[in-house]
Symmetry: C2
Subunit: 245 residues, 2 copies
């Protein structure tokens, strides 16, 4: 099993100014790759907190993804915190500096010290890119540093797909039913025992007009997942079955 | 300063099946009450993991809110995990059992063992309710156990408002500008120094058509927040100001 954790950095999430959107995107991305997201931690823009959490997460997971804090302003301290966590220096990447300079020249914008902070990287970091995303993504050992802005987060995740591929992806089936959770709880408990390779989840819909409960079946063995979902469908009163996805 | 943490329990969040929605609601609720949300942790439906994280969070924060895992099925283990964390027994609440029995009788549903699990509480827990929300919310010392279903999560938060009130709420101002982050970074750094009671954040909008950067000013002192926001507006080229909220 390959495991992952996410470290979400940002006061804006902890004060409710934004609806955090990157965790769900990352979770689905990893699920497809067969990597188990075990843990997400959201922390404020504080260097020591970020570094301490990053060290705990990278020691106990195969991959760690950070989100947020990579811009040019005073509250963007992720690169400094990653460097601190690894006990390394922050250096200016000549290559990224050239990109920042060209970008500002092209846009006719004055080149500020703050803009040059965008060229800061951790010493020894790898800079990942692909044909679509020329702006590099910083990676250091098993840590990937991603931006908080959702549109850029998605673009940069795509850059990592090749590096993270290689395992069997997870598959999922969902059965929607009119049954309420209490009436099928015993059946589900039995199914978790008879289908140990499949992770079964049960989620009720509040005042559901199109179904009452959604049962999910996850695993890396497609046939085992199908069998578990079918066993549930077979045990259900046909009038309670809404649909299978 | 009163601090809080959230423990989000659910495989469905870690596999990307749902967009987690309770953190933003909790964050805004606490912000209004002047309670600082310092940390959010998302964990899978695993008893030992939940208990270990809960113990770490409740030891280091004034309040802890859990979300998820309180239904009747095999993957609903939050009450058991909270009991385990506190080293207490799970007991059946006579009062909640009566409510479950009445509900099932009223709906004409068979009363299953699983349904009676809904009456499980941790020994010594307080059961909180108000006139609108008759189904009780379990609280134990500084831990509040809330359901994952967003509609019920919101209803139950409202029950806690009175218990958590008493401090000065936080206030926030936002200034939207056409300036890009690099060009105002130095100004923002200066403002963080000259307005130490105000937390200043800077957030860029990707391909923003209505503004480029949003600057936020947070604090418990309304006048200090207003002064910091005004100082930023005054320093801005008037053509770059979009609006103040």
């Amino acid at each position: 099993m390959r495991t992952a954790a996410a470290l979400i950095i940002g006061n804006e999430v902890l004060t409710g100014k934004v609806e955090e959107a990157n965790v769900a995107v990352l979770a689905r991305f990893l699920f497809e790759l067969g990597i188990t997201l075990r843990r997400v931690v959201v922390v404020p823009d504080e260097l020591e907190v970020i570094a301490t959490d990053l060290n705990a997460l990278r020691a106990s997971h195969d991959f760690v993804f950070t989100s947020g804090g990579v811009g040019p302003t005073h509250d963007d301290i992720t690169v400094d915190a990653v460097a601190h966590a690894f006990g390394r220096a922050v250096v200016r990447s000549a290559e990224v500096e050239r990109m920042v300079r060209e970008y500002h020249a092209e846009k006719g914008r004055p080149l500020t010290d703050a803009a040059l902070r965008l060229a800061h990287v951790v010493e020894g970091a790898r800079l990942l890119r692909n044909a679509e995303v020329w702006w590099p993504t910083l990676a250091l050992e098993n840590v990937y540093v991603l931006p908080g802005v959702p549109e850029i987060f998605r673009l940069k995740l795509a850059v990592l797909r090749e590096e993270l591929a290689g395992g069997e992806g997870f598959v999922s089936r969902a059965v929607y039913t009119w049954s309420d959770e209490s009436s099928i709880a015993e059946l589900l408990t039995d199914l978790t025992k008879s289908h140990p390779a499949v992770l079964i989840g049960s989620y009720l819909k509040w005042r559901g007009e199109d179904y009452h409960t959604k049962i999910t079946f996850d695993g890396s063995d497609r046939e085992a997942v199908e069998r578990a979902a079918q066993a549930f469908v077979d045990a259900l009163d046909p009038k309670d079955l809404v649909r299978v996805e």
